[in-house]
């Protein structure tokens, strides 16, 4: 099997065995959900419901307000109880719509076309995706309708479905590929039609042989779709790395994939597109891997958007007593949570619960210039020097060293034997530089 990859990167321990063979299980409909009006990159949505309104599953409750913004729908049938600030998984308190379940589930369809999607126009399909509020399910939550509408002068040549799931622990994409292969392929075909490309590539890390096999089987009769097994290496799933691995092109610094004629979508996004177009369901479901050594029974769960983390964990048998850290996402890029009340959002790929054993105290030493961070950085930066510059307050120097190219994958900090929080410092530096640049302009 020919295996492609990018250069540098790291090999974190995978810990996928917790959930990689666990079938997707739907979570019972929760009694109440908290739906944030910000679940994507871009401007927040404007709620279109008032407290006391009755809403149905799939009903639009907050609408997109800008170009890079995405609609939000109710994920259950019930009554709006409150619109106010609640804890958000990004660590802030942010406006959410609280809905309490009432009565039997009733659905609102996202569109009422009756013809098969093959007969719809590209514009119609794009509108459906926009209406359904689909965002990138990989974690960045970039509105999909924007992503698939490149400016006219940028011809898209390569369409890639990202099935890498390089973050340790997470298996949501893996399970989707195994269990929802048909849906995913059809979603891919819809996206291919929208993008007007003949070929699509599905990149899958070779630690998911079952997914690769199923995908290959389901695309045998489709010459346009090629499965590309990829080396198990972090961060293989980062857009730029994936493009490099699939068609050897480097996305120039400061540019978007579309500048080199590429569009990358996540497995989950393809399925969401399928569901919106074929099943007429908006983006109200999310497949979440609930895992980690602090979870009694790790599972891959199909959850409604807005369900509090506590419900998912309860569904998985609850937490062990020595739980020390709860993350949204994987261990490399996930966000630590201070509360289990935060809701599942569109970008929640996993809930990772770690015990004390997995989060040991790590003493920081001085840098011994071992060069591991340099060997690990997929962006070919020199993290130790950048971090030093940031620590010394020399932000201009950090900028010269290419700090803004950092994709914050965390490989450097993972590898550092001196336990220096390299990526954390770089993040601080990036924010500082952004502030400085904003001030100037």
């Amino acid at each position: 099997m020919k295996v492609s990859s990018f250069k540098h990167g790291s090999h974190p321990a995978e810990f996928k065995e917790y959930t990689e063979h666990k079938t997707l299980e739907p979570l019972p409909i929760p009694e109440e959900v908290f739906i944030p009006v910000i679940q994507h990159i871009g401007a927040p949505c404007k709620p279109v419901v008032k407290v006391g309104d009755e809403v149905k599953t799939g009903q639009l409750i907050a609408e997109s307000t800008g170009f890079v913004s995405s609609n939000i729908h109710s994920s259950i049938t019930g009554k709006v109880k409150k619109i106010g600030d609640f804890p958000h998984p990004n660590g802030t308190k942010s406006p959410m719509i609280q809905i309490v379940a009432e009565g039997d589930e009733e659905w609102v369809k996202v569109h009422d076309h009756t013809e098969p999607w093959g007969e719809m126009s590209v514009e119609q399909l794009k509108k459906i995706i926009a209406d359904a509020g689909i965002v990138g399910m990989g974690g960045a939550a970039f509105p999909t309708n924007v992503k698939v509408s490149p400016p006219r002068d940028k011809k898209i040549e390569t369409f890639i479905i990202n099935g890498c799931e390089c973050e340790p622990y997470l298996t949501a994409d893996h399970r989707m590929m195994v269990e929802q292969a048909k849906e995913m392929i059809e979603g891919t075909q819809i996206l291919m039609k929208i993008l007007d490309v003949e070929k699509a590539f599905i990149g899958i890390e070779s630690n998911k042989p079952d997914a690769i096999e199923i995908m290959q089987k389901s695309t045998e009769h489709l010459p346009g779709i090629t499965i590309i097994p990829l080396k198990v290496k972090y961060p293989q799933g980062a857009e730029k790395m994936l493009i490099k691995a699939v068609n050897k092109r480097e996305v120039p610094a400061g540019s978007l994939p579309m500048d080199v004629g590429c569009v990358v979508n996540n497995v989950g996004t393809a399925i969401a597109v399928y569901e919106a177009v074929v099943k007429k369901i908006p983006s109200i479901n999310r497949i979440v891997t609930v895992t980690g050594d602090a979870v009694t029974e790790p599972k891959n769960v199909i959850a409604r958007i807005g369900t509090p983390f506590s419900k998912l964990i309860e569904f998985c048998g609850g937490l062990k007593p020595d739980t020390k850290k709860i993350l949204m996402g994987g261990p490399m890029m996930g966000v630590a949570q201070y509360s289990l009340d935060v809701p599942v959002v569109k970008a929640t790929s996993g809930i990772l619960c770690l015990t004390k054993k997995s989060v040991p105290y790590r003493e920081e030493f001085t840098c011994i210039v071992c060069g591991r961070c340099v060997h690990a950085c997929p962006m070919f930066l020199v993290p130790t020097r950048i971090a030093r510059a940031v620590e010394a307050g020399k932000f201009e120097m950090a900028d010269e060293l290419g700090i803004m190219n950092c994709i914050e994958c965390g490989s450097c900090a993972y590898e550092c034997p001196s336990n220096i929080p390299l990526v954390q410092r770089i993040r601080i530096g990036k924010n500082k530089i952004r502030e400085m640049k904003n001030k100037k302009s």
Binding site: S10, P12, A13, P87, G91, Q98, P168, K240, E250, V251, P252, A253, S255, S310, L319, P321, T323, K324, K325, I326, L327, G329, P331, M332, G334, A336, Q337, Y338, S339, L340, D341, L354, S358, V359, R362, E363, F365, T366, I368, V369, C370, G371, V374, H375, C377, M379, F380, L381, V382, G402, N405, G410, A413, Y414, E415, P417, S418, N419, V423, Q424
Partner: protein, 329 residues
């Protein structure tokens, strides 16, 4: 949100909040230091076997002196010893000393290695030169006679009063390596005169491989170092086999094995990029052959590595990787 239903506070105690990543490789500096000590054990065992407990005494003295110096100097700056690199420095320094050396010199060399070699730059990570080699260089420059007075191993049957290391023998025209069994017993197994840690090439290489397998040292440096010595030494040997020693002799004699596997690979003082490591190793090999064949000293491992240490910042600078996606101008 229901205030009473807050599992975070009640059942879990405080959750740790930190910025990603939340997973680390299991290596840390302490572990690496322990690894280096472990990797040197075979060589230590061999040295005790050949030179007796005297070599153990030298090793213990060096380690103790390094620890005490580091402790005092850290105390002066209100810091504490944390990573244990002083043990490694002491052990490595001892490995480069003749087993018969007066213990006072060992202490002096240790103080210099830690004080001037490391702490004065701000401690581990900021030093320019390999501290152990610097300590050894200080002793070599201060007490050249004492540092090159070798004792024969316990297993040697001596027929003459004269005693020289294989390299010294070559340099001053008394070649003592003649045939394969000399190679095997002497150079590879270590039944020769020399420093505590540089007698048995096999024991050193064993430890070196362990470090490489554990990813605690960069394999590129020993490989390029040894390879360049072999090739360059070989070229001279082919030009004039009567005057220059053969490349295999180069590889196994003197402190090359120790230098290549333990000294040159010191992370702090070797380049951080892969290309840099190659350049570093080749440079070391070049200087080594130059010093051995044309210099005033029989052995050049120490100075070849120290020289390359000095230009490591330059190598780092010139081999800095091009940022991903950066258009080459």
């Amino acid at each position: 949100m229901s205030e009473q239903n807050n599992p975070t506070e009640n059942s879990l105690g405080r959750l740790v909040l930190s910025s990603s990543p939340h997973q680390n490789s299991n290596d840390d500096v302490k572990k690496i230091m322990r690894g280096v000590v472990l990797a040197l054990l075979p060589a230590v065992v061999f040295s005790v076997y050949y030179f007796g407990l005297r070599s153990m005494l030298v090793i213990m003295t060096a380690i103790a002196a390094c620890l005490v110096t580091e402790f005092l100097l850290k105390k002066l700056r209100n810091k504490k010893i944390n990573e244990g690199s002083a043990v490694v420095t002491g052990l490595l320094l001892a490995m480069t000393l003749p087993p018969s050396i007066h213990l006072g010199y060992v202490v002096l060399g240790s103080v210099f290695a830690i004080g001037i070699g490391k702490e004065i730059f701000g401690g581990l990570g900021n030093n320019i030169f390999n501290p152990a080699l610097l300590g050894r260089a200080f002793l070599q420059a201060s007490f050249p006679v004492k540092m090159t007075t070798w004792t024969p191993t316990k297993l040697m049957v001596l027929d003459a009063k004269t005693f020289a290391t294989p390299l010294g023998g070559f340099k001053f025209g008394e070649n003592i390596i003649h045939n394969f069994s000399d190679y095997w017993n002497g150079l590879i197994m270590g039944n020769i005169g020399g420093c505590i840690g540089e007698t048995s090439a096999a024991a050193i290489a064993l430890g070196g491989f362990y470090l490489i397998v554990k990813r605690w040292s960069d394999w590129r440096i020993p490989v390029s170092y040894l390879l360049s010595v072999f090739v360059l030494g070989g070229i001279f040997w082919l030009i004039n086999p009567a005057q220059y020693p053969d490349p295999v002799f180069h590889l196994f004699s003197g402190g090359l094995m120790l230098g290549a596997f333990f000294m040159a690979t010191d992370m702090v003082t070797s380049p951080e990029t892969k290309l840099g490591s190659w350049i570093f190793g080749i440079g070391c090999g070049f200087f080594l052959v130059l010093i051995r064949l044309f210099g005033g000293l029989p052995e050049g491992v120490m100075y070849s590595i120290l020289l390359m240490n000095a230009i490591t910042p330059l190598i780092n600078r010139f081999t800095q990787p091009t940022v991903f996606g950066e258009v080459v101008k």
